[in-house]
């Protein structure tokens, strides 16, 4: 594989006595789809939050393209090409679907100290809006208020917002959670299509989705890495089995 795009060195985050992330080191390569799995409370979301900048680590460093971004604030990381979706859907409920996506586009087209021209009819923003709506299949709901969408549509919108930022690295936190089987398949297709275009870090419980999408998989338990490897390696790993199922009792 090529050079690491994201490099994590000795990353640590404790919440009181809970070691959500403990001396964790990991490299994520350019173009790969890297899945994080592990039992509940293993620190998957924490790791994602540390990478995206939602949380500040207690110790350790994060490098993007060999540049130390550990202290770079959340909003600035977005401009470096990091984008994410949240486990608990995070959209702008009172704005329309179209406005939600426009904001994502606007975030990357200069400053927003523009007080007079109407944003929704700004050609510079609109140009990117159509493909952004189309990509997540929400053209027919463009004018609806985001709060009125179904759960699955909200998830799609959120992924759409992350994509509208044209990210280099996309963090997806359980994109399939709570989706019906049909929705999961749709979203799986969407992610499979994105694999070619960007680096993806994926936290997901849907094991089938992970094995079909991920190039490499990292298994986390209690904030530490148990093993990193390809799907086949993970499947046959004794350590993983132990982490998930507990030690086998001799019969």
């Amino acid at each position: 594989m090529s050079d690491p795009l994201l490099k994590i060195v000795g990353l640590r985050k404790h919440f009181g006595a809970v070691r959500a992330c403990h001396n964790l080191s990991l490299e994520i390569c350019t173009g790969e789809t890297h899945a994080l799995i592990g039992p509940n409370g293993a620190g998957k979301t924490t790791l994602l939050n540390l990478l995206s900048g939602d949380l500040k680590p207690d110790a350790g460093q994060i490098f993007l393209d060999n540049r130390d971004i550990t202290r770079v604030p959340l909003y600035h990381r977005a401009h470096l090409g990091l984008a994410r979706s949240y486990q608990i859907t995070s959209i702008f409920p009172q704005l329309s679907v179209e406005e939600n996506l426009l904001l994502a586009i606007q975030a990357h087209s200069g400053h927003s100290f523009r007080f007079w021209k109407k944003a929704v009819s700004d050609p510079q923003l609109r140009r990117e809006l159509e493909p952004a709506l189309e990509r997540v299949g929400l053209e027919h709901r463009a004018r609806d208020r985001a709060a009125a969408l179904s759960h699955g549509e909200k998830k799609q919108l959120e992924v759409g917002m992350a994509l509208a930022c044209n990210p280099r690295v996309l963090f997806l936190d359980e994109p399939m959670a709570g989706m019906g089987p049909g929705g999961s398949v749709e979203l799986g297709k969407l992610i499979a299509g994105l694999k070619q275009q960007m680096t993806i870090v994926l936290v997901e419980h849907d094991v089938e989705a992970i094995f079909s999408l991920a190039d490499r998989i990292t298994v986390l338990v209690y904030g530490e890495i148990v093993v990193t490897g390809t799907a086949d390696e993970i499947r046959s790993s004794a350590a993983v089995r132990e982490a998930y199922l507990g030690e086998e009792e001799p019969c």
């Binding site: 995070s90 702008f92 904001l103």
Partner: protein
Amino acid sequence: MLLLISATLLLLLLPTLLGWLGEEYLISLASRILIYALVAVSLDLMLGFGGMVSLGHAAFFGIGAYVVAIFTHHSFDGSPVLSWPFVLPGLDGALVLWPLAILVSALLAAIIGALSLRTSGMHFIMITLAFAQMLFFFFVSLEAYGGDDGLSLFARNRFPGLDLSDDTHFYYLCLAVLGIFLLIAYRLVSSRFGMVIRGSRDNEKRMQALGFPTFRYKLACFVIAGAAAGLAGALIANHTEYVSPGLMHWTHSGVILVMVLLGGSGTLFGPVLGAATFLILEEVLAIYTEHWMLYLGPALILVALFARHGIYGILTGRERNNV
């Protein structure tokens, strides 16, 4: 739209109508409503669109009023406002003095905003309240300008082409100012800047994850609202020809907040309706009883319970934010 046109017509013709009815003294009440509408709309920019609930907005209103009162006072005395490090003479020309009032309020808003916007929610409410109370007590103890008793103006400011001591002239000026500010606010809320402000209200974390440094946009919104409140203060000082620290008291911020909620927060015309309803109710109820608050209170509770988008919501049947 029809509602808007008829309301505008009514406001334009109001002095004539009142003249026919022989109730000219009500012009003064109408001007007062317009001034409070201005400050209420400015608060709603922050509160309804930006999600910043402030209980200190009257501070900027009061500062604008005091700037006008102090300079006008010195202009009549012939004494300088400042004699050191440079001589600053008194002023009574509106075209210089009112922009100065706006500038001072905006500066103050920048300082207070920069400090209080580091918090949010309940803490933000308490910090803005605390700053406003500090200013209140500052002016209470400022004996040179009347302290607790406030400061009277000898006359209204000079405005080229208008005679502000004429209530009708003053009314039309207030109407023009409110109209211009509503137009600015209307453009503002759907501009890129407005999108960022509304996005931050809905979900600030998400805004940052998208790449918006939300703090500076919220601060800009806070300053714009403070500046507009300062202008309203300059108008109210001219209107009553009297200013007192009470203008800055937190209960006065509460009154402005009530106007916004009563009329409908997150709408532009709601606060205008709220200011009108509040002041007219105050006027009418005060005829019958000095305990008029006793009746206003339940009316407010009813609005809060059954009309969450305020009077504007009832009138138009529209949802929030569809400006």
